[in-house]
Amino acid sequence: MVQRVAYFVTCIADTVFPEIGEAGFEVLARAGVSPEFPLGQTCCGQPAFNAGFNDEARQVAEHFVEVFADYEAIVTPSGSCAAMVKHYYPLLFRGHRRQANAQRIAERTYELTEYLVDVLGVRDLNAALPRPTRAAVHDACHGYRGLGIARQPRLLLSYVRNLTLVEMIGHDQCCGFGGLFAIKMSALSGAMLRDKLAAIQSTECDLIITGDASCMMHINGGLSRVGSPRRVVHIAQVLAGNVRY
């Protein structure tokens, strides 16, 4: 099945963590996909949408809908961005002249591990970690509850050499990022982060793996602040065999 696949890198993996952007692209290439990268892409509009600014969100989303119009699949290394497009674009564009386009885009957007496992049927990406490592998955909320992504990352990780997967207690407990919530309600966000750090602390693992760069940024910010040597990495980096810890 040869589809025209577009890669939506996301604003955060484009500007803050370009190595994650590269890893996601590399993983798709290894899986036999020739992803295209529409150069005009920017953001899915989620930050404005989550803050209640629907008009502003729609303006940015409209650009997204134009940029990705001609592809059969749009793949992104982010559960929250994928969920934004799949669940909320149809709502955001209800009654809008772009409604049909937005609906089509929503149906064709996938999170990376979801696309690899459920669409391509990929399992083994021939990946390895540099040394024997115990790792736990942090299930990022929008991918986990919004898109039902839980089995797919674990399946892919089970084929990664030198990796022993363990389950973290509270693996599906929100890390406290929540977009602008982290700033607007920073005390609450900080409290939830502390709970997540405690869960990580009580899990015997060297590494935490997640599917959302925003959770990663938030948790690593906390780990760094308390002087912990542990880090969270993005699953794309693990699957691309390009991760340092």
Binding site: C11, F53, C174, K184, L188, N220
Partner: protein, 473 residues
Amino acid sequence: MEAVPFERAVHLALADEQLQIALDRGTTRGVNARLAAMGETTDPQALRHQARLARERALNRLPELLEQLERNVIANGGHVLWARDADELNQHILTICRQHNVRHVVKAKSMVTEETGLNHALQAHGIDVVESDLGEYIIQLAGEAPSHIVFPMLHKTKEATAQLLHDKLGMPLTDQPEVMTRFVRGVMRQKYLQADLGISGVNFAIAETGTIATVENEGNNRLSTSTPPIHVAVMGLEKVIATWEDYAVLVQLLSRSATGQRMTVYNNLISGPRRPDEPDGPEAFYLIILDNGRSRILASEYAESLACIRCGACLNACPVYQNIGGHAYGWVYPGPIGAIVTPLLRGPLTAPRLPYASSLCGACQTACPVEINIPDMLLKLRRDLVQAGDPTLGWRIGMRLWAIAFRSPLFYRLGGRIASWLTRALARDKGYLRRLPPPFNGWTDHRDFPAFGAPSFRARYLARANSRSNGKR
């Protein structure tokens, strides 16, 4: 309208060590109990869906069902009164008290009566009101508000409880919950036997027979509605359901979701006052149906919130509630459902922070036995607040500028390059910033901020694409 501004309430709650211990204990137990109890049903997801459908059927037919309920209550010998708002409800009960010379009222748990401030209204007229549920009684003595829908004194330690009972009622100090409970049982006995009127809430009102159903573990609901000569049952109009089949699935999911029990100790099915040939029970039964904004909600895009069966599962599952408890929400209904119901019933600008007090993680929706999509409604409430002009000018301008930047590839790339350069310059070699300027300082109050990578993914992609095409030449 907020007694304590939300941010301040959050800080107080986070700093309260006793509260944090109690919340940890209570919510962990609640979550584990629910998971176990739902997990052992025939099919948890299918049952949640059946429960949802039962609520939807009822809401779709609310007026007919309420009329059928009324007919059947009257046929059973009861009276039905209707209240448009909180004052009307309180007035109805005051009138009943006057007509029957009521001096002492005993109450079983009812969130609706807290919504209307009934206790204060009765006490202002010299009528004595006693909460009969152990937890509610203790916080009534303490002059506090309940902090959880199901566990009203979740925030209180046993030491504080013993001290309170000692100070107010002369109980000898003890650290044994059994002893404290035995003491209160003795005190309440007199209240039940002395009371002129008993008030209860309604968990479900079954239209097809005019029966009100309540769930409880203590027996205080049975007693409050059996020993006094008058029983007044108070319900939000959304509590009516169509059939006994609906009752079966809803009441069992309620117990399993609220306390992890298959059935609560007592499930009471009350159909009017005592029959002429019955040896005990109240001689008069009143059912009061309250609107207080619910019909307005039914007409809105928030109608789904009326499906709630007040089980408290969303509270236990919510990482925000787990950290701040119920009082911080500022009103009768705490937790995720409270964050929606409070602005809807009282007006969005009375609680402008509540819809933002969520990371939208969705744990509430997953826990809800009737599949209420709380995150979606929180998003809509945020949208409503923006449209009502709530955010500050700074936020509105900031968002406008953000949208301009992010829908233009050129401005987006430029902004990205500037931010990247700035963060790397400020972070120097550390790779992290310890402090961000306002309005972003909230981030660095609790965690470090990374220096952006460089160049951007897009730049790297282009560089590789160019070198490939160069290589080809």
